[in-house]
Symmetry: C2
Subunit: 427 residues, 2 copies
């Protein structure tokens, strides 16, 4: 059994970013990589700037002047190196989605890339970020001047000025994508307008749908496991148990904990359909939605058993799960991979929404956390997520900040280390 | 437990079609209604032409001349009646997605509708079908002259001529949607380019994703259950049994049966992950893909039981399932509604693809068939789908044609009528 809910991926996609500097191209490219990697689709970004810096580490704006022949030669050479590494990655490492992160602002440059790709029987998909939202551009300029290796060690004001001049050089030759015979997506002020041209494959349409749903307004996501449950006390997995008295105490304290972190921002609470998450969210004075997709990983035949029971009754399964916890599927139940696939609409909706608090279960929380924090699959099922703790995720331009807020209410630990034998949970 | 994998829908959407006559607006509107209804989202189309015909049953092209004040008055009156019925439907029948099917080709007309909707606190979504593909337009003109009530009983050539003149009147005043402050989707030559502006809600984004994936090339879909299995012989449900000898005979004959119907068209075969569909498809000389989403409805605790066993051991469940088979969820298993939700990506991919043969299971086949044939939820779980039969679906402009091709191989009947007691299957 192959076990894929999604269609098998039998094509490679070469995504070519397009846009002036400071239009969020790298951010978008990295989000695509993170999203696809989370779905077990091998994706990688090839940033032409990194190749260019090997020769020219700290160029001034003049380097990007279209009349600077030497600059033009070096930039093209960097693009060639990036593209050739991308093709090597497709061939040698079985890459599926390669992203060329560069400005590619002229028709002739795009036509050159198109030819190279088509010679390889690859029809590239151009993703343009077009933006005239001054706030967004300013924010990006600030990010670049403080984070770009091009300006390391320079005075921030000088850097910003130089960067603006660089942008001006690009603006002189910029041609927005209008070529009707190519596959492209144009994002106008991310989240505002999207133009989609000649999308062909399933995977392309998935990427487009993801891009369609992105926005860049600042917002936070809060995650919490349900409060301690009767099953947690008994060391049992699965089921639909009520909260323990300490779990109920967490539910009572959660509004205060939440208010402290959320402040006056509008918030929506998502729970699973299981009693322990709904009882945990009961006192939260916000709009609440229930998702079946947030239900705990289905342990199938092992539902309601303790780890000790499982080790005793199904020793081979117990060992197999330790061996590859991400892929291991309980008999009649689910694997972490299965959970990720059913969580995909949740992630999509999270991208669309603003402030959300999710009250859910250990395995589900691990999967959602893995998406935002880019945790690899061999680690995500082993992450420790304690009970009675509120986690705040704040997506920033190139990373996500995490804050953990612990309620002062004891709870059993439901964590079992890899390779350890099953023991009764300790208080 | 609410059991919705999808987010609960808490908003209403008013979809306003835009486009010249013969651009497939009604087809698109009806596809949206069919898709949403299948997902249990209440949707309805309000066709302004039907309201206009109450006053003016067989107008000539001049009726649509922008300088014809009386025609203009009657057309606006029809639009008002349709809109007011739509609002009544929202309010009284709890409608979720109402579609106004009309040309709405001028900015002033759209602005008028926008005002009416905004007064009701509804932000409408405009869906424009823009088309300069002459073949597509010609095909639509042929459809209209033969099917439109406007031309009933008229000479087809005269009708076609008049219809072209009607289109010309519209062309004189047509303004494509460019208003940046409204929510819209513009489909350029369906399937070729899509422009998306200010999409806001989750449900809107689902509709847009659906529209993005539509194409209008002619194609067919073939459906078959797996051949008779050992479990079928024993009257058991679920499981992962091998084919019976008669089932294996069906597998051997399927390539010939398929070839007869498919001819030389390219074809891809989709199967579930269960042995009985893969054994059935084994000899088919086409590319094959395996989808877990095509697996049979999960009977949970009843997996591997006969209907007799279920009636005996779980009499209340047995009766509850008869009462509402669509909603009934087996303990630890699935309902038809659950299956529809997991089939949604399959339907989306079917819309994208061309010729596909799906070898799957009784309940899954019922759900897919219900989508194409618009079968209501109280009937779809009770449809008889015999074993050893190939079903061909041919989507046409306003309906889907069905052909059933029976292999001459006997099989048990797995059909149980509503309200009947469980009996051993008869040969």
């Amino acid at each position: 059994m192959t076990g894929n809910y999604a269609l098998q991926i039998d094509n490679r996609i070469c995504v070519i970013m397009v846009g002036l500097p400071a239009r969020g191209k790298s951010l978008i490219a990295q989000k695509i990589v993170r999203y696809l990697s989370w779905l077990s689709i091998s994706a990688r970004c090839f940033n032409v700037g990194n190749y260019r810096r090997l020769e020219t580490a700290h160029p001034t704006a003049e380097f990007f002047d279209v009349n600077n022949a030497e600059g033009e030669r070096l930039r093209r050479q960097a693009a060639e190196a990036a593209i050739s590494d991308m093709f090597r990655w497709f061939d040698q490492d079985n890459g599926t989605v390669g992203i060329l992160d560069a400005t590619n602002t002229t028709k002739s440059r795009r036509s050159w890339i198109l030819d190279i790709c088509r010679k390889r029987n690859l029809e590239p998909m151009f993703v343009e970020s077009w933006c005239d939202d001054e706030d967004l551009i300013m924010q990006n300029i600030i990010d670049v001047k403080t984070t770009s290796p091009d300006y390391v060690g320079q005075d921030p004001e000088t850097a910003a000025l130089d960067f603006r001049n660089r942008i001006r050089h690009y603006e002189k030759v910029y041609e927005t994508v209008t070529e009707r015979d190519i596959t492209y997506v144009k994002l106008v002020n991310v989240g505002s307008q999207v133009i989609i041209n000649r999308i062909q494959s399933y995977l392309e349409s998935r990427i487009v749908y993801y891009l369609m749903n992105l926005h860049i307004k600042p917002r936070c996501i809060w995650l919490s496991r349900h409060g301690e449950s009767i099953y947690n006390l008994e060391g049992k997995i699965g089921g639909d148990a009520d909260l323990s008295s300490r779990g109920r105490e967490y539910a009572r304290q959660l509004p205060r904990l939440t208010k402290m972190s959320v402040g006056d921002r509008p918030l929506t609470v998502w729970t699973s359909t299981l009693k322990r998450t709904q009882q945990t969210a009961k006192f939260l004075p916000y709009r609440q939605l229930t998702w079946k997709a947030l239900d705990e990983l289905d342990a199938g035949q092992c539902d309601g058993l303790t780890y000790e029971d499982i080790e005793e009754r199904y020793p081979e399964d117990f060992a197999a799960r330790d061996e590859n916890k991400y892929e291991y599927r309980y008999p009649g139940g689910e694997s972490y991979r299965d959970v990720v696939i059913r969580l995909e609409p949740i992630i999509m909706e999270l991208e669309r929404q603003e402030n959300i608090l999710i009250v859910t279960h250990q395995a589900v929380l691990r999967c959602i956390y893995a998406y935002f924090m880019n945790v690899p699959q061999d680690q995500s099922p082993w992450m420790e997520v304690p009970l009675h703790t509120l986690i705040k995720l704040e997506p920033k331009a190139y990373s996500t900040e995490v804050t953990k807020i612990k309620a002062d209410i004891p709870a059993v630990s439901t964590y079992r280390e890899k390779g350890s034998s099953a023991k009764k949970p300790k208080s």
